[in-house]
Symmetry: D2
Subunit: 282 residues, 4 copies
Amino acid sequence: MTHTRDKAGAMEERRGQRRTTDERWRTALTCIEPNKILVRGYPLDEVMGRLTFGEAIYLLLMGEVPSPALGRLMEAILVSFIDHGVTPPSTLAARNTATTGAALRACVASGILGFGRYHGGDIESCMQFLDTGLDLVRQGKTYRDAAHEIVQRAADAGEIPPGFGHRFHTRDPRAARLFQMALELEAEAEHIQMIRAVENALHEKPGKEATPVNIDGAIAAVCGDIGIPPAIANALFLISRVPGIAAHADEERVRQQPMRQIDPKDHIYDGPSERRLQERRK
Amino acid sequence: MTHTRDKAGAMEERRGQRRTTDERWRTALTCIEPNKILVRGYPLDEVMGRLTFGEAIYLLLMGEVPSPALGRLMEAILVSFIDHGVTPPSTLAARNTATTGAALRACVASGILGFGRYHGGDIESCMQFLDTGLDLVRQGKTYRDAAHEIVQRAADAGEIPPGFGHRFHTRDPRAARLFQMALELEAEAEHIQMIRAVENALHEKPGKEATPVNIDGAIAAVCGDIGIPPAIANALFLISRVPGIAAHADEERVRQQPMRQIDPKDHIYDGPSERRLQERRK
Amino acid sequence: MTHTRDKAGAMEERRGQRRTTDERWRTALTCIEPNKILVRGYPLDEVMGRLTFGEAIYLLLMGEVPSPALGRLMEAILVSFIDHGVTPPSTLAARNTATTGAALRACVASGILGFGRYHGGDIESCMQFLDTGLDLVRQGKTYRDAAHEIVQRAADAGEIPPGFGHRFHTRDPRAARLFQMALELEAEAEHIQMIRAVENALHEKPGKEATPVNIDGAIAAVCGDIGIPPAIANALFLISRVPGIAAHADEERVRQQPMRQIDPKDHIYDGPSERRLQERRK
Amino acid sequence: MTHTRDKAGAMEERRGQRRTTDERWRTALTCIEPNKILVRGYPLDEVMGRLTFGEAIYLLLMGEVPSPALGRLMEAILVSFIDHGVTPPSTLAARNTATTGAALRACVASGILGFGRYHGGDIESCMQFLDTGLDLVRQGKTYRDAAHEIVQRAADAGEIPPGFGHRFHTRDPRAARLFQMALELEAEAEHIQMIRAVENALHEKPGKEATPVNIDGAIAAVCGDIGIPPAIANALFLISRVPGIAAHADEERVRQQPMRQIDPKDHIYDGPSERRLQERRK
């Protein structure tokens, strides 16, 4: 169809008429010309060495170069998911693919496909959950009352609110760190206030063990406060998980026999003991 | 089988004997304990805000925190592939998946699978190509003679050496920028010397138009000189392509009608005109 | 966790106690023993040559050997989706993957991922749509009234009912054929009666062009009537699409140049002209 | 580019000139017209109910309706791989994807990606291996001498010939069945003769345990003898594995808790005991 319209357009042009609207399909991401690549308008060779990968990801997805504070939050968000050991199903899908001798790209694709409803989707759900609470605030409720109401709704549906609790961790160290950075970088706003209120509301529920905010929740709140929409937050999540999946696929290939049966519980960590970053890095 | 061995091990332990070797399978990437995530030994919450995403990727894949110079090269390498517009087949596979309403992870997986023999594999091939030349140098040949020999071998096989030439660009601006950074950061060594020699050898061939080094070749040479093995260079390539694929899948979802027929040649760029980074960024 | 329980179980066994429940995880599909493969209890070598692929698929997914009539419907359902030319986005994702020189498995995976919300999901949705109508019938409504009610609900939501209408065909020849077979094989029941009522209800709506039932709708109704649940119907759909995707990926590899730009509208069919099956086949 | 040529072509047509060659790209698989779908020339609605799925797959991939004997071999080949229990890595990749709540298509894609170098590639390799032997026969060697020579070459490379031996089975019942069918259907020719000679040559090697031909080898030999090229044999393999992968993904969803840790060795089969097909089926 486009094709037909195009020919018609070409004909009109030959007749000296002007097409009022260009009916080609449009993209605003990257302009390619001979010897020139403009990402959101910036020459890519100029971006190299001047923006970090995290800043360039923000530029590509959001359209503008981030402020230094936003850039630091982006890096922290991307780093926070870089790996979570051998037991996530996405990692195991990648390792089971790697043990067959498959190419790295097939292992990575297989791993990415393992972010289903129960695994990795909490950032988007939590952003929607927080927005429901913020709608109540905008209607005049206090943060405390709004939080109690949405927590109760989740409890009535038999659910833990998305962004809270963890299979392994009773206190997710990454969430604490991200909130601290948001505070220092003065990025805190209503979403973080809302998630704090929800955490308190969960705490106050009688006869329940604590389900503190996890890294999904922290990222959801921070992304909400810095204006990143849920779909882009989800893209950041996928981007951040790829290095870990690739690292496991590569380690499987290098250290293990092909075609092995992988029992996720039967492993041992033999990497370096706990160590600290050198001071200059802090 | 491991299972049986484990029970045997457990039995020995109860008998007060020690297992001489632990037969669990091993991983050196990330250690997960309650409320603690150690990536290559470093607490992940401490890495957040202290290493960039690019530096953390190097840490995860190579095992150590990169020097500042290595870190800057990593960022530049990762940025160099962040997007190449709508026409690469990997991007089109992702857009064709996105137009069906598929989840972002499915679009990204589909895009990654489009790095086949003819698309994206040149970094690894070029590293092997350069190593063949460097083997000749180690056997006593000059760089010039070694380069002429491997270029001739490629010509005899009817091939352009991997890492040279480009569908769109006669001079790849990203390659020039990466070599400049490697020079400034004093990371130049034998692989870059070899690729320069190959570029000269190609130049000297009579009756041929120039096929200058492209970004794959530049990354291959730089990775060779900073000690990144081919498989890890390939992992970096995959990681670096994911943001672009995700951005196109998201743009397809947001700006286009579902179930459209995508003609890659019938598009127009409507993003910002060429612009420059602010001085403070340089 | 299973592991810990298992060790405890092993210990009990050594103590001469019996485990009351086996806590291993369970599968009912296929039993593998040395030199023996039992699919749903049947030796696979005995199934070979005795059941067709379509019958064996039914056996594997549904647990029992189909009756001859059910077997014939299975074959027809699987055949009905075997290919739909070059323009479906799933096929284009596979071709865009194939043009990069990717392995066939990567092309097929990429194609399968292109069955998103708007492409290939209508069988499941239509089954749910028909069941909504049948619930109304069970509550005492006539088929006619139930059909009008659910058609109106779809119209109120601005939607065409799933399983009706087609981008290319005003009358889907595959749907007619499948209904005819269901009639001949005496497999017609309430779902087909319901979809007929819906088709009539759509027909009676004033000022609308006809949106006749398509092959998704026909399969949904037939699957409903022969007791195939929606998730299995969806599995049948995926299985039936793989040969077409593989055939296009292979044709792309054999007949086209690598790394081409694929315009879906710019193709021409150069295969055999229309021909008929020999009589003995009918 | 094609686009530009097309406009030029359109212009020529308007000028009353004829384009000597149509430069649109070509496909010979399926012709789509309003209300008509021709697969290799046959109306798809006519194929439904007249050809089985296996016969239609042959038609689509090979271009012609198979003879009844070829059709029966196709069905047997497709049935032979329909499932191999829970332990193949491809199945485990699919189950690890399914446990995350991912869509069936994502699970199937993930499973298909697990056919890497060491898993599922033996049909193509074995066809090439047999062809090497048949080249020697054509040069005047006996089958016996040719077999000994290619077996020795494999042994010198430290390899078991592709298509021989199995992780679980010392005698693959599917291979025996397929050879029996090829004999009964008079499809035996030089490839089966060659693989028999190889089996004997392996048998005669002193001090070695037997590595009998497996199902990959049997399919390779039969496909060779009925004129199916290696790439199409590989497509048949992928098609035949999809129902099993889908069945495991569905069983994982239905019978297991989400987000479980899947130990492939810790399972038990709880399906029907061994049973026989009814006589009418034989």
